[in-house]
Symmetry: C2
């Protein structure tokens, strides 16, 4: 910022404290403060505070090799799950003096690479990626270049990076068991994109419970959507109806797909849950206020952000840290979109 005229620098603090500038520099760097006596350190800190000394993070970064900045890549900030994850990340980073640079790739792989370039040019100390695909060149290159990264919400097939994800198999199991308890036997699945771990794992879990005869499994009742969006949910649900096969409930791989399902269902003159029960996944904002309120799988978004930030800070401090996988347990929230089947 354009305030150089007023800016107090290290030399000013040193002059006031009667010590050499390098001493001030040592005191203000957590890695070197132990090289200075406690009495001197306390004096320097007190004077620096009184004078309103504001260390330049750019200059500190050049000295310590750290920018105290972390990049956060989000596929779509307007998807209401991400602001909650970001808030958990920011709160945790802030406690350690780090700041987050948040970028929204608008679901484009091309953007992701441009954003990464831009973040690298700013020498971020590490990255939290919510954008991972099962095969992900961005993740691979970060690993190859030893850039500290943590994946959040989604992961890659290799699991080569530290990750904080949901237990998707457990979550789908909760939705399936709830419908089975209500008496549903013919259950359809509105799946997400299979190139994401969440899309693949949720579909795989549904298939697993079906093949274990928890319900009458019919592979024709599985539909893949190309994206986790309302419009794809609408398209997917409409294509399910077009097949003309009997079903009384739908497990959707996320809430937005379920909402698209609501639209297709309404357009076909059917009612939820009277004609078809619907479950979602994520428990996004306002899902309790819909017509009907959505029965869904609640995931701990804030906790995911906190854990991801904690792991990244550990990785930045100890790049040799072992790759870790944290899997958080979701829980079912039963609302008005599920009921016993008609017949």
């Amino acid at each position: 910022m354009n305030r150089s005229a007023k800016r107090i620098n290290i030399k000013d603090v040193a002059a006031q404290a009667g010590v050499h500038a390098s001493t001030v520099s040592r005191v203000l760097n957590p890695d070197t403060v132990s090289m200075v006596s406690v009495a001197v350190a306390e004096k320097v800190i007190k004077i620096a505070r009184e004078m309103g000394y504001q260390p330049s993070a750019i200059a500190a970064g050049l000295r310590t090799g750290r920018s105290y900045t972390v990049g956060v890549l989000i596929p779509d900030l307007t998807n209401p799950i991400f602001p909650h994850i970001v808030r958990g990340i920011e709160r945790t980073l802030d406690q350690e003096g780090y700041i987050a640079v948040i970028a929204d790739s608008d679901n484009s792989r091309k953007n992701e690479h441009a954003i990464l370039d831009s973040m690298q040019a700013r020498r971020v100390d590490g990255l939290i990626l919510a954008t991972a695909h099962r095969k992900d060149a961005l993740v691979d290159s970060c690993i190859a270049e030893s850039i500290p990264i943590v994946l959040v919400n989604r992961t890659t097939d290799t699991h080569a990076a530290t990750e904080v994800i949901n237990d998707d198999e457990w979550g789908i199991g909760l939705a399936v068991e709830h419908l089975v308890q209500l008496g549903h036997r013919r259950i359809a699945f509105l799946g997400g994109p299979l190139d994401t771990s969440t899309g693949r794992d949720r579909q795989r879990a549904f298939t697993k419970y079906g093949r274990a005869d928890r319900f009458e499994f019919d592979p024709e009742l599985l539909v893949d959507c190309r994206a986790f969006t309302e419009s794809e949910g609408y398209r997917g649900f409409a294509s399910l109806l077009d097949k003309g096969r009997e079903f009384s409930a739908v497990v959707a791989a996320n809430d937005l797909l379920a909402l698209g399902g609501y639209d297709a269902l309404g357009e076909a003159g059917m009612q939820c849950p009277r004609d078809i029960s619907v479950t979602g996944f994520n428990d996004m904002l306002f899902m309790d206020r819909l017509r009907p309120p959505l029965t869904t799988v609640h995931i701990p978004l804030d906790e995911m952000g906190v854990k991801a930030a904690e792991l990244l800070l550990s990785l930045i401090r100890d790049p040799a840290m072992e790759t870790t996988s944290v899997k958080l347990a979701p829980r079912l929230v039963v609302r008005g979109s599920t009921a016993a089947p008609k017949h």
Copy 2:
């Protein structure tokens, strides 16, 4: 990032191009590229690209005095209006090679100051603030220190900073006229915090239309909420009901207040719109999917972000630019929460 071993630097590009490093530096800086012949500039750019040269923004910042980073302060990222504003800001900044550092103050003035310190330490080139209060020490100090700032969504009483806001008077007028056309005469107002421009301007507009006899104005039917939240809307609406005065419609100063109103209304055994019509403000995500879908005032969120970013970039380039006020026109979206009064 820890990739110094592989990093191509200016000297490598210079050696390959057969020119001096300072020539490469001039070519890669938009302010000095004109000092170099077109032929040499083209050659250097071609070679830099082929070698995968990645300029360090920190180093470039120290050379040009710019960080190409803009700070964005949001009062609450989980309020679904902000991600859309942020997306407009990011897209616009990105086109000019700038990056946004987004920070969420969690509605706390204390946090705002800490965040500003942290952003100043990182020498952001300017700030976009969505956090303004009518009296705002943060805004005052940015102006005093000639830090380029743009206020978005809210502004201060002084209007001393460049701002991109909504025409709140127009918006409230749309809601009031809609209710009047439906036949409502006794209309209540669920207002926002009066220390924000949006809270004050929306209340002032409602009072103005009332005093102009567009409906039977009753000052007892105006309630102020302490924050734009569902819980405050609930509390405010309940206190309206407690007054025991007759009203058939409520204009809420934002959607979250209206949702809190829905809750209080339901708890009192009343139905919307059968017993009471309700209007919101903002048209947040999923307002079309509520029980009942909310009639509300739609504001152009993405456009607000785009305009704010454009103005900030102009200010950074020309700090002497005159203070500008952009007021965007909202529009009414009529849905199921409004109907003719019962009697």
